[in-house]
Subunit: 366 residues, 4 copies
């Protein structure tokens, strides 16, 4: 059966025939489509150091964003039927630590978890795979067109949930009408993650300001203004935002750049929180003890955010459905391209390079 | 301008002309439609003891479920524009207790709150009213057809939120995949409230069993089975549910009948919670000290549930949007009838009697 | 070695020689003293239906309140040394459900837990026992005289923790100074449990009213007034408390009598909570649907409370230490009698009958 | 009446006679003793930029740590009597923001709060002051000798409460026995704050490692080893702690030095939290984007910690009482010196310089 495989740490990917259906469990899933994200490209380009084939195997099937259809199912499995659309959860627990035992390997303490298509477990860019219903999320067919976004969105659902949990440290962080409507979130970066988290924060009632070091493209205007967010051109830093726009109560960084984060921190209000979501490497910024003092005087929290689990996939699907109904002109712009698995070169090219303006690109298997 | 008024405690309602636009605040709202609920009918029929005109007025404008369009707006009001669809919040705080100060009069401690169309404040069955943006919730136009349901749904959003908060008393009440998918909620009653809370509990991932003392109607089958819920005929009590179906982790009562609740309690599992939502009056049930002991041995909680506020209205609208996308065949059945304000007799009749099978009936003003 | 054994469901207890040191684990504990509580007496008198010997054994060593000294310890055990004073935890988990896996068998969902000296596991009225350090709590020697109270107090620590967790359902349940000082707790019953929970609630800052159907004894006056609590003679019910004393925000029942609870509920304030702790059997009370409606209108919660675990034992010891320093005249009255294990008849008599005015009676083994 | 006054921003302090009793409210308090802390010295030495006299006054009475005795009381004040020992709360709210309205000016959002003896409000180094009972905490006389520590300890009570609230972001952060006994806290700095937080963390069940860049003094050994804490000589950084001692789940910094914090972060475990408590100024440290990535990969939170309020004062007193009973040899070492108000030069000298080994120094007024 056809699969897209990689052999980390070597760069490169190939679409090839494999002999054995990967995975285990009582449900056989036929793949419908995959999403491609930045991590896939880092693996394919050989720049993601954590990529690893499963134990005793010499290749890794790529792909951690997938939708499939239930093809066969063993007797006794409840809650799923042949023909159901499903998404597999990509991270699987270590089996030992308490967080993994309660189904939350996003907080695994041993580091012994695996990630499908990334490290230690085959991914889902393959015609068929077996799985356990515990790791399959049912997808409402009415939103099949955008449901692939539930995988990246699940990480953001978990992130906002974690941010709101941390903010319970503030006795009253809601507004005088019980909502978050008076609170402002600053989203740094306007890519796929910045886009999805903006929609999510708007859904929670926050005012949202999206920042990038330039003016928005026409498509960005349609998306961000279409959900009631504002745009901030951060080419000159964040002082204007802090001084004239009242600053922000949440800063959600999707860049991972420490220099950007340091600059944006000046705009974080009293009792605010900085969420770190993006990855970068080499930038530097100097902090002084006086910077730490500001975190204390202003009661600021910082939190590293990572990986959603099954509850977050499920909530992501609910939110995607809501967005499709509320903001059809926006959701129709989120899947920026679909490539057919049979167009090998196009697929492999898409796995190597991000297209300009790309939000989400899908590989279709059907 | 036209309004539907009552003069409690006298029964009866009339559609009449009034002189002064009710309400106060910088936003003038033109009514689009009202929903009718059981409380409206109790007021009209003179059986709701709490009904009361505003201070120094001799009539009460009825109506606490409403959607209107912003007609005029004073300068300086943010976040709203002429032409926006809005829903008014129906309960307004006492202005004194800490819960009201933080925008949560659902937990008012003084009892000094007012409720539009019910007690101490004019309602929204009137051509125009003034209001403060603090009490207006923006309605996405794409779901205008079902958005009136956000008012009753807001009470249920708050109820499930409160239930989940109470259940944090159990160290791990989620399943081994981090979701609520392994937990069962028993909803007693299949009316409007039972229907909406079933959809909501399904959205949170719970298995749901809807109970009534009969088999479901064809429409009930379409709705409840359409969202993956089960039906339980409780004509013979709840023993079969307790014995053969594993019982329930949540019992959500919409009947208010103490005899029904007592019978259903036998089906409540360890660490379970009973939510009380419905009202009734005269039924009786005898409890023994041994019944209390069962609440202790089984770590059971009971909680009285009432009234949603602005955050719950907002979340209700998000959920309605999601349902419209995910379950269009179900949501299309939730508005069971629309009556035109100009058909006076039909409107007044609808205010007196519930139609068989009614979920939500709307009065259209346009 | 000497042990106090029972053979449930037969009544009676005997002090006898047994052959094998009970328990398992790397720590050998020499018993110093046991506490006697109502459950012990119910087992001895044959009225506690749940009593059960361990699997494949024909007797049960009694005793779930104990302090011992570490006599021997296997290599590799951290955090304990020979000579340390320790208390064993009495309930041990089922090993399967998620709550037991995270160390909280007080919320065991399978019912498969055991309770030392009560059901399925030997107790601690025995010269020596083996145990795992996981189940041993280190006791500060400076409070050895009253430390036995940490076992019953652990149940109350957990109960108040659970009550406060449930009350997070109310957006603001603290006072305008951030404390609970403006909140009143009504404790029904002035026995050992009523006494300990009064001290605990005072420690949390609550005003406390202790109710019993008579005036207080001189000793009760010294204890309750000594910690700033009030007394309420409930011989004529709770209407006076509701009407003239402002009612209560917490009702903590230690009687288990449904008739008493029903009467006291009239005094429970808006947003209040009723905690059920005591056991009784045969009393009856009739509730109407209108009573349920009151729970809704007043946002009331009810919660069954049971069993503390290791975190609660540890906190109980901290609180006992605080009380010993703050209220020495009160804590000196809490151990009402000590009997020597060698006075067999006295011990067996104490296991059958509660002395008047008893708060805690200890069996000394040294 | 006698008072110790300063005239910020000018350095210097004087003991002088003032004409008017400061403060307002129905309770007149006669001062018994004050504590001196680092902030007092910074004000006296002119290095604390925030110091400010009350509006329209040209001097500021110093002192935010105080115990007094109730000298007179207006009719109608409950819960206090003439002769009671009391501590005044030092920070008072802005009167406007929601956090101040609910009694939590530690999270004031306007910055409009005042701090007695520091900014905008007279302090308590004065023979008498008036106050409102809302801001007075009753002190158990049995712990009068160490109760002055409740002021600095209140900040730490709040800090640990906030840390534990933030950590609820981790689904299971307790150990497999439900406690924190398996978690390690690293306290950086062994001064007064490091000492008090060590005792507090031990009370919560944490293992504690105290770090300083040298070996402990004999007194430090007695205190830290006496409560079961360990010592880590950090002269060579924190690598050994990370590598050989398993790292830490909490890092509690009392130095405020960004270079120290950066070095210690390498020892913070997965799901860990860094609490920032101390102030410093000029040190620098360079962070790279890869450092941020570590915060994400390891699910780390950072939180700025500041100021306890009335609930924390009350809990601090309970803990001090517990420590006095459990660890008498440790608590007897916490007050390192008492100076008499009549020895002007000694008092002024103590206000300028910290003695070597000082934990808490008191000024006695009687």
């Amino acid at each position: 059966m056809k699969a897209i495989i990689v052999k980390p740490p070597r760069p490169g990917a190939e679409i090839t025939e494999i002999q054995r259906t990967p995975g285990k469990g009582p449900v056989l899933v036929k793949i419908v489509e995959n999403g491609i994200c930045g991590t896939d490209r880092e693996i394919v380009n050989g720049t993601f150091s954590g990529a690893q084939a499963p134990p005793n195997e010499d290749y890794l099937i790529l792909g951690h964003e997938a939708i499939g259809v239930v093809e066969k199912i063993e007797k006794g499995v409840e809650d799923l039927e042949v023909g159901d659309l499903v998404m597999p959860i990509n991270r699987r627990g270590c089996g030992h630590c308490l967080n993994c035992l309660v189904g939350r390997p996003d907080f695994c303490e041993t580091g012994g978890f695996v990630e499908a298509g990334i490290t230690g477990m085959h991914g889902f860019m393959v015609e068929y795979f077996y799985d356990d219903p515990k790791y399959l999320v049912k997808v409402p067919k009415a939103i099949a067109d955008i449901a692939i976004l539930a995988q990246p969105l699940s990480d953001l659902e978990k992130s906002i949930e974690e941010i709101l949990t941390v903010q319970r440290r503030v006795p009253v962080w809601t507004c005088d009408d019980g909502t978050y409507n008076c609170r402002t979130a600053l989203v740094i970066g306007s890519g796929a993650i910045g886009t999805l988290v903006t929609l999510l924060l708007r859904t929670y009632g926050f005012k949202v300001i999206v920042a990038n070091r330039r003016d928005p493209t026409p498509r960005e205007k349609e998306i961000f203004f279409g959900v009631g967010a504002k745009w901030y051109n951060s080419a000159n830093g964040y002082e204007e935002l802090a001084r004239d726009m009242g600053g922000a109560d949440i800063i959600f960084d999707t860049t991972g750049r420490v220099d950007v984060v340091k600059s944006a921190l000046t705009a974080l209000r009293i009792n605010g929180i900085l969420g770190l979501f993006g990855f970068s490497e080499a930038e530097r910024a100097e902090f002084t003890s006086a910077d730490l003092k500001q975190l204390i005087y202003r009661n600021i929290a910082v939190v590293g955010l990572d990986n959603g689990q099954k509850p977050h996939f499920q909530q992501a699907l609910v939110h995607l459905a809501a967005w499709k109904a509320m903001w059809p002109d926006v959701t129709s712009k989120l899947i920026t391209r679909v490539v057919e698995i049979n167009n090998k070169d196009t697929v492999l090219d898409a796995l190597r390079h991000r297209s300009p303006g790309e939000i989400k690109i899908k590989i279709s298997w059907q």
